[in-house]
């Protein structure tokens, strides 16, 4: 799965931060809501504070006026008994108050209510003070006991419930994330394929289907544009042919016209030669563009590459190769009978480009070796020479720098010919690879390695 760890760490950090923020927000909201109540509940009139304050203000003789006033204003009643439970005095107490509290009464009241009033008790030196708060002002826990065992388990419980909660949250996050990734992955893959200029068609269901459809549309538009571009190049190269034929034809005629001045004949010769160069360029351009946009239909047929190489070499020698060049054929016995399913014209074209490169770069002559070898998996076709070779920088440049057609760099030193580029494209169209090796003064060797499909 595509860089899943990265997604997890990045989004998980945000997710955790969000949970923490939420947690603190909850505490703040809780504090804000309950601040008043808490301050009141634990303020001056709370049972504990009131009892503390009254402890010194009451005795068997009664209560100070000041304290009585405060109790009245807070709507609290008071009862004072001696140590035997006999009521000594009362303050605003309800009428249900008995004259004498029994031990049972005290036991109930100390934990609970008296006539529905929550009651709070404080023992003094000579008796007991009982404060009755208004009905429904406090609730008392009448069964406030827990086993020590349960209390001991509380920290463990809290920690495990937190861990459990986080695990659940993480899983929920993980699955939702995975679902998104699962849907986005084909889309990302196809966008990457688009970058490489391959036509794509992606199908995704769910909320991302709209994105997938857009990507498909882009691909369609791109391939239409590629088609248009290839057609355009093909059209231009087609239209240029007839006029170029005329230019070359007449220039050639003038060059061979005996009644014409020698200088003019020479110039006409140059026009014809340059015309031939334009012709090659136009043909190359058309082929490159069709290979580039994968519109060159491969006319594959099983052939013997050994025969192809011999026939090419014979043709090369028959058309009159200068004596400073020699051509050697090396075909291993195993390669002699091997069958290669290929487009014969294109393979022949690739060999020709390599041989012509050797000839062009070695004007003083060289020995060219055409070698065919094969293993169980590969068919290897090597064109090598013992010529001037290529410098290391130039070799690096040839290997790394894209051809100028693919490059946006305008510097002319990057513009090596279409020749090697065509060889590479033809090789790749046959699922092969090209290896270029060379060193200054020790020749150049280009090896084309094709799969041997038997």
């Amino acid at each position: 799965m595509r860089s899943f760890g990265k997604y997890i760490s990045k989004f998980l950090a945000r997710f955790t931060a969000m949970i923490l923020i939420l947690f603190f927000f909850n505490i703040a909201a809780f504090g804000w809501t309950f601040f008043e109540i808490i301050s009141k509940d634990y303020g001056d009139i709370s049972p504990k504070n009131m009892l503390d304050k009254l402890e010194t203000a009451v005795s068997v003789n009664g209560i100070t006026d000041e304290s009585a006033k405060q109790l009245e204003s807070d709507n609290i009643w008071a009862v004072y008994t001696d140590i035997c439970g006999k009521v000594i005095w009362t303050l605003n107490a309800p009428s249900e108050i008995p004259k004498q509290f029994t031990v049972q009464d005290i036991a109930v009241i100390s934990k609970g209510y008296l006539a529905d009033h929550p009651v709070f008790i404080r023992n003094t030196t000579d008796g007991m003070l009982m404060l009755g708060y208004p009905k429904d002002s406090y609730t008392k826990l009448t069964s406030n006991y827990f086993s020590l065992h349960s209390i001991e388990r509380i920290p463990f419980f809290i920690v495990s419930i937190l861990v459990f909660d986080f695990a659940i949250l993480f899983l929920a996050y993980f699955f939702s994330k995975r679902k998104i990734l699962k849907n986005t992955e084909p889309i990302i893959d196809s966008i990457e394929a688009l970058e490489n200029g391959e036509p794509i068609s992606v199908s995704v269901r769910g909320e991302l289907s709209a994105v997938a459809n857009s990507v498909n549309k882009v691909s369609l538009i791109l391939s239409k544009q590629n088609q248009a571009r290839a057609n355009w190049i093909s059209g231009v190269s087609h239209d240029i042919r007839t006029p170029l034929s005329m230019v070359m034809g007449y220039a050639d005629r003038i060059a061979h016209e005996k009644n014409v001045d020698a200088d003019i004949r020479k110039e006409a010769e140059i026009i014809a030669q340059q015309g031939a160069k334009i012709k090659e360029l136009v043909q190359d351009l058309n082929l490159v563009s069709r290979l580039e946009y994968e519109m060159q239909p491969l006319n594959k047929a099983p052939i013997r590459p050994a025969a192809l190489i011999r026939s090419y070499a014979a043709e090369l020698l028959n058309t009159g190769l200068s004596d400073s060049y020699s051509v050697d054929i090396e075909i291993t016995p195993a390669a002699e009978t091997v069958i290669f399913d290929c487009d014969e014209r294109l393979i022949s074209r690739a060999i020709n480009n390599l041989v012509q490169n050797s000839i062009r770069h070695n004007p003083k002559g060289c020995n060219i070796i055409l070698r065919l070898d094969c293993t169980a998996e590969t068919i290897e076709l090597t064109v090598s020479d013992n010529g001037v070779g290529i410098t290391e920088e130039k070799l690096k440049e040839l290997k790394e720098k894209p051809h100028y057609m693919e490059s946006t760099d305008d510097r002319s030193d990057l513009r090596h010919g279409l020749g090697l580029n065509i060889v590479r494209q033809i090789t790749e169209a046959h699922n092969g690879t090209m290896q270029l090796t060379s060193a200054k003064h020790s020749g150049t060797s280009v090896k084309l390695i094709f799969p041997n499909n038997k």
Binding site: S245, M248, G249, N299, R310, A313, L317
Partner: protein
């Protein structure tokens, strides 16, 4: 190579570009061709084939009233003359279509007129053999009509296989013919493993035509490729 015996052949050029027709026909006449006729459409071309009976025709693929392939089929209904296609498309399919229909050669625009001239010679030579089927070699003479070699006043007969080899080499005299082509000519389309047999035939031919078969000067080996026949004018 002497091609002058071909100059009397009548050539029909078909192209919709009058300028191109003019250029090609003047180049051809510069090269010695005496009978050149031109046509600019399918209809004119068919009329010309019927009325003037050319010996070879050069066809453009794209014509105003039809394409060259259609025209070739029409011509083939009338006569069996060789056809060379001239076209502004250079890639695969056209070539296959052209040769599949039985075209004899194919040349793509733009072309050097000399290239066309050479192709026309080659096709004419192939289709209209020289009237005298004799070939002079360094130390002998081959009479193809009788399948014989004349050497030192002696007459040596040639076998069918040897004739096939020599005819193939003689058609391409001065040019290398690969072992693959020779084997295919002798043993058909799947010529694997006949290398040794071919060697044996070549050796026997040399014994018949060379002064010293160990040092051949007429039928020479091109290492790794094939053989070449050197003739003497």
């Amino acid at each position: 190579m002497d091609n002058s015996f071909l100059h009397t052949k009548k050539l029909l050029l078909v192209d919709d570009e009058p300028e191109l027709l003019k250029m090609v026909s003047s180049t051809l006449s510069d090269n010695g061709f005496e009978n050149i006729i031109t046509a600019a459409s399918v209809k004119d071309a068919i009329d010309a084939v019927q009325d003037k009976k050319p010996d070879l025709t050069v066809l453009d693929v794209m014509l105003p009233d039809g394409d060259g392939f259609y025209l070739m089929q029409k011509i083939r209904c009338i006569t069996d003359i060789p056809v060379i296609f001239l076209t502004a498309k250079d890639e695969g399919n056209d070539k296959l279509a052209g040769l599949g229909l039985g075209a004899d050669d194919y040349i793509s625009k733009p072309f050097l007129p000399q290239e066309l001239v050479l192709r026309i010679y080659a096709v004419l030579r192939r289709c209209y053999k020289e009237d005298s089927p004799m070939i002079n070699l360094e130390s002998s003479m081959i009479d193809f009509s009788r399948a014989e070699v004349h050497k030192d006043g002696e007459i040596i007969p040639l076998t069918a296989m040897e004739m096939t080899i020599l005819e193939t080499l003689a058609h391409n005299e001065g040019r290398i013919v690969t072992v693959d082509v020779l084997c295919e000519r002798l043993w058909g389309s799947n010529p694997f493993g006949y290398g040794n047999s071919l060697n044996a035939h070549i050796r026997r031919i040399r014994e018949k035509i060379e002064k010293d078969a160990s040092y051949p000067v007429s039928l020479i080996t091109i290492k790794g490729l094939g053989y070449k026949l050197i003739t003497r004018k």
